[in-house]
């Protein structure tokens, strides 16, 4: 009975924060250097993305502020024409690479977060319904999931991107690209949430506490939300973390296929796509810095997700 172990670990310490800090998760966190370092990295990157307008020396999204002649300035060296110096150099449009990375990370994170949110909401709702209600509803939902799985996410995203761009009026296309990306990545990613939530629901719904809730007359919907969902959240959280990294990478991949964020409001992926053209030409900084940032971001999110997966899995403790 594994619950014995849990019992042992329950000394009362008052105070919510203190309790959280002493909780299993926090304990495991404090004892995992990898988790701490990656959490620090994620926090650092996310914060610098959020506060980009205050941190970044330039605003690369404001075309009027750019001077094309600043293009291709190497890091830390003055530009041959304008004499300006940029920490990480400039790209082909004369944008400060450092600022562009910060702003690009905003886009990447926005797309990643929102896409995962979307996928999560769809997946969780469908997974709960399928798992709890069963019957033909389950069959239909899971068949749709199967069909969706038949299509690799990247293809789905490409197609959705194509359609969404097609049906949005041209005057909105520029702004729409981001939303379309979110939609495309989100819609291509819900299945795993649905599957996991359905699996968890199938397990939980046979637990006696659900019977107890049914017995007192709680309605199915209320049971799903109040009882089952909280118990499926751990699994969802783990997937969400890893999906976030995947979504950010997916956005980058899509931009390589020409369906990513617009070049005037580039994401990290778009920056890499642009930068890879300068691989042989000696302007290494245009590729290197965005790529390193993406690597750091995705890697630390992945490591965090990895740690979370192990830490939240009681069977692996």
């Amino acid at each position: 009975m594994s619950d014995h172990q849990i019992e042992i670990e329950t000394r009362r310490t008052p105070g919510r924060l203190a309790r959280a800090w002493n909780g299993d998760l926090a304990y495991s966190f404090r004892h995992s250097p990898v988790a701490m370092i990656s959490a620090f990295m994620v926090a650092l990157l996310v914060l610098s993305a959020v506060f980009a307008p205050w941190i970044a020396p330039h605003n690369p999204f404001d075309p009027g502020s750019l001077n094309l002649m600043n293009g291709f300035t190497p890091p830390g060296e003055p530009n041959a024409f304008t004499g300006e110096v940029f920490l990480l150099g400039t790209d082909d449009q004369g944008r400060d690479v450092f600022s562009t990375i910060l702003y690009g990370m905003r886009i990447s994170l926005l797309v990643g977060f929102s896409a995962v949110m979307l996928a999560m909401v769809i997946g969780v709702v469908l997974g709960l319904l399928a798992g709890y209600l069963g019957g033909w509803i389950e069959s239909v939902i899971m068949r749709i999931a199967d069909i969706q799985l038949t299509f690799p996410a990247i293809l789905v995203a490409m197609l959705i991107f194509g359609v969404a761009k097609g049906i949005t009026p041209p005057e909105y296309r520029d702004q729409m690209a981001i939303y379309v990306l979110i939609l495309a990545i989100g819609l291509s990613d819900w299945v795993q949430f649905a599957r996991v939530v359905r699996g968890a629901t199938l397990v939980e719904k046979n637990r006696e506490y659900v019977e107890a809730a049914r017995l007192v007359g709680r309605r199915p919907f209320s049971i799903m939300i109040r009882h089952i969902l909280p118990n499926a959240l751990n699994a969802v959280l783990v997937i969400a973390t890893i999906s976030l990294a995947l979504a950010i990478i997916a956005e980058a991949t899509l931009s390589f296929l020409g369906v990513g964020a617009p070049p005037t409001k580039p994401s990290l992926g778009t920056l890499i796509r642009i930068g890879q053209g300068y691989m042989f030409s000696g302007e290494w900084w245009i590729l290197l810095f965005p790529a390193l940032t993406l690597l750091a971001l995705a890697l630390s999110i992945n490591l965090l997700g990895d740690w979370l997966r192990d830490a939240l899995n009681p069977r692996l403790r």
Binding site: D3, E7, E208, E211, N231
Partner: protein, 318 residues
Amino acid sequence: MSALIRVENLVRDFDVSKPWLNRVIERLPKAKLRAVADVSFEIEERSVYALVGESGSGKSTIGRIIAGLIPASAGRVVIDGVDIVDQGGPDAVRSELQMIFQDPYASLNPRWKVRDIIAEPVAVRGERTQGLAEKLLEQVGLSATDAGKFPHEFSGGQRQRICIARALASNPKIIICDEPTSALDVSVQSQVLNLMSDLKEEMGLTYLFISHDLTVVRHMADRIGVLYLGSLVEEAPRDRLFDAPKHPYTRMLFDAAPRMDAFGREVDPPKGEIPDAINPPPGCPYHPRCPLATQICKEEHPAPRMIGETRVRCHHAE
């Protein structure tokens, strides 16, 4: 005293068929599992009625039907004069009936605080729950300060007390206890059983007590029904049953149960195991294991008959 619960000819089948296409191709008929076969009994108000039987004999299924968690396939269940099978389902008697489950670990939502768990039956009805949990916790021998804790902070016995507190929250008349102590240690079991007895006296409760432990049943029950493969093979008041078991299955159960005074007992263990419920043997379901079985047992399922105070389903019982 009148019967608070009356179960008449209760039947419950589960569909365990393979999917339609498999059946078509493999030429299989629809398969059904008769978990409860033609069971009738009555539970007097303020009494303890126990169902015993080995695993898979249909005890929980009967309990769940009475609790309204699953529908019956046929038969009647009348609770306090309301037939829950015909008349609008269990909602009519919802607040009169509560349940305690076997696994104290699975029957409390790990994400909820004890206070919310206990108050849930009342909260669902939109009534005030202020202080309710604290009061009930003290009633079941825990401390009111425990209300703010989570279930994992309690031991098995304490959890079962929390379950009991939850069951009491809506002031029920009837509590269905599905093996409430089989996950507990003896020393804790005695505490829980005592608590249940006390509450019964204090609050005038009626229990349907499901268990496979004959010693516990003997201690708790007023009347006992023995189930085998969904059939109620024998039913009698407690002492009648233990003093003079009529059905060979009941006798086998008594013999097989380990006894604290039977040091080094050398008896032949019973034969066989419960057969597959999907393809039960024809006739009396017990006949393949029965020392008394004759030809008629293979052919005919015996009807219940009364021998004294005992109702028994056996061709050969006397």
